[in-house]
Symmetry: C2
């Protein structure tokens, strides 16, 4: 009779752990304890060498390859993670955790503050990408994972992947950073600030102290503004153009007459059902704070000095949120630091969202990179 | 003793006229009467041949070269219009009117509905760029101006200028259309829809029936989102980068810590003091409806068929709101229609706003074009 596996290989276990002991934050504050909600798929190899950490983007969650029990939706990265995909539970031990500050079970503004017995709301300390990474490192300790074969992420997930190589260089053999940047630009910050102001302008936000009635209108507007930045002008034109919604002629009113209006409103409304407004504030703030070069007088190469990690960077031609120029900047810095780095810019009309969509070239790049370093 | 001049040549006369008779609109509705607030500078020549109409952009007004009596600010296009400038009251008779739907004195949602004695608010009919142009034509009739030497405008002003040549081809000898487009793209519509939803999400909007307490928070968010589209990523980086506001280090809070946040918040707040939320809804809607090719099965050239008007188009390299590609599309259509057209794309880091800023090349282009056709 076989021994029970150390980790269940079924998808979607909806795991949750409270890691005791104070968790220090970049701000100087700390959390009394750390909740982490996560999923694992596959089995950790006897030598521990097949662990891959997936880092999720701003509005995603730990359900990278399993059904989200709350929304009922399938995993958010099926092209890259799953049976027969580049990251495969048959070969890899895959970990994906809800980020610190998130709203899918990890410690965040919606968590209960043990000091008061009430939700933290805006009393939750401001967090950084580094704090998210350190929380993931704590989870790996708990799971008995020492060195990661790879950290893989797109968008904010790519920021975490890059930061892993900086914060814990001895625990990361390779990094895959897709459609991302090593810092938030002024325009990135500006769009996030619009979203935050939209949330905070909603009286239902109530300084963050809302209960069962969230600031839905404000959060929907925030999502609408952000969603435009995830698409490309060409992609929007191709998908919607100036086509009208359920009508033959202009209605001379303020309904959603154009398809693109209807689509955006839907994006805003459906987001409210699955995301917490305060989490949105905290996570966007963490992204705005992200600047790997800042502790090194703006010289990004110094952040990676002495690194032995291999890097793969992928950007998309129509991504104007984290454009190719930002990936090239990282590549130059890694080259200057003497790191092993491969980079490819992929053609896509889908803007920033391309990394989540059908992207067979991206999958081939990631597959080849992971196999070469396995 | 000299006769009194037909029109006073002093700047900033803050004129206002109510033109009687129903004013028909593109929607099929009509207004019982038409109020137009306007400014004129210079003197109409005996042959009537020196009249230039300036059309203003979304949030501008009739005070193109004179002090705005409400804000105390100087005219908004001093580089192009004024003594010694390409459009000069010493040589030209200059007219600039607040657009229909505006909030600087022309008929709009803030006007009194004669049928009820109360403000129109959202009972004001939805208007189009064509309606704005036709209102200006009525004003020219009133002023005794037959044929315009030129219609000049940037952004939404450029849309009006182009539409003038389509709607009233015999009254326009030349058109100068700067940083503009012949249609609103899906992305343009999307950004406007975010702004409208931000306004409508503000409980103070009250279905448009607000009184002295406008939906300031919603309008400010709308302005913040729009303002990002007026600048360029490179311009924002150059102007603000990741520099902090009044502090040495990250504050780990939700204040405006980055200069770009502080700047954006200021843009939002100051806009509320000078612009009406309902006007913002109506004017953005008019822009979204704009598509000169729509009545011609999408063939823009047909809109200009047989035109004898001369055209000058100017775009700016970093303008991503109405990018050069849109100007080129217009140029191709004008070429196909056999029109006389000159086009130049100017280098600028200032994004869409470049047309309002120091742009000596733009002024030289306009000056040369106007003198050649005088």
């Amino acid at each position: 009779m076989l021994a029970a596996p150390a980790f269940d290989i079924r998808f979607g276990l909806d795991r949750r752990v409270t890691l005791p002991g104070r968790f220090p934050l970049a701000s100087g504050q700390s959390l009394a304890a750390l909740d982490i909600a996560y999923e694992t798929y596959g089995t950790l190899a006897a030598d521990g060498g097949n662990a891959i950490l997936i880092c999720h983007a701003l509005t995603m969650d730990q359900y990278v390859a399993g059904r989200n029990p709350r929304t009922g939706k399938p995993g958010w990265w099926p092209r890259l993670v799953g049976a027969g995909q580049p990251i495969d539970p048959a070969r890899h031990f895959i970990i994906c955790a809800n980020v610190l500050g998130g709203c899918s079970g990890s410690s965040g503004p919606g968590s209960i503050d043990p000091a008061t017995g009430a939700r933290y709301a805006m009393a939750f300390p401001v967090i950084t990408i580094r704090d998210m990474v350190n929380a993931q490192a704590r989870l790996l300790d708990h799971l008995g994972v020492g060195v990661l074969q790879a950290v893989v992420g797109g968008s904010m997930g790519g920021m975490q992947a890059l930061d892993w190589a900086v914060a814990h260089p001895d625990r990361v053999r390779s990094v895959v950073a897709i459609a991302t940047a090593a810092r938030h630009s002024a325009q990135n910050i500006a769009f996030h600030e619009v979203g935050r102001q939209a949330i905070m302008a909603d009286p239902a936000w109530a300084g963050g102290a809302y209960g069962d009635v969230p600031p839905a209108a404000g959060l929907a507007v925030a999502r609408m503004a952000a969603h435009i930045t995830y698409l490309s002008e060409a992609g929007l034109t191709e998908k919607f153009g100036r086509r009208l919604q359920d009508r033959e002629a202009l209605g001379f009113g303020f309904d959603a007459e154009f398809q693109v209006e209807s689509y955006l409103r839907h994006q805003g409304l459906s987001f409210v059902e699955r995301f917490d407004a305060n989490s949105y504030l905290y996570i966007t703030r963490a992204m705005d704070y992200f600047d790997l070069a800042a502790p090194h007088d703006g010289v990004l190469a110094r952040a990676f000095a002495g690194t032995k990690t291999r890097f793969a960077l992928v950007s998309f031609t129509s991504d104007w949120l984290y454009p190719t120029a930002e990936s090239r900047r990282i590549v130059r810095a890694l080259n200057a630091a003497g790191a092993a780095v491969s980079f490819v810019e992929l053609e896509s009309p889908f803007g920033h969202d391309a990394f989540l969509l059908e992207a067979p070239e991206m999958c081939r790049v990631v597959d080849g990179f992971l196999r070469a370093g396995a």
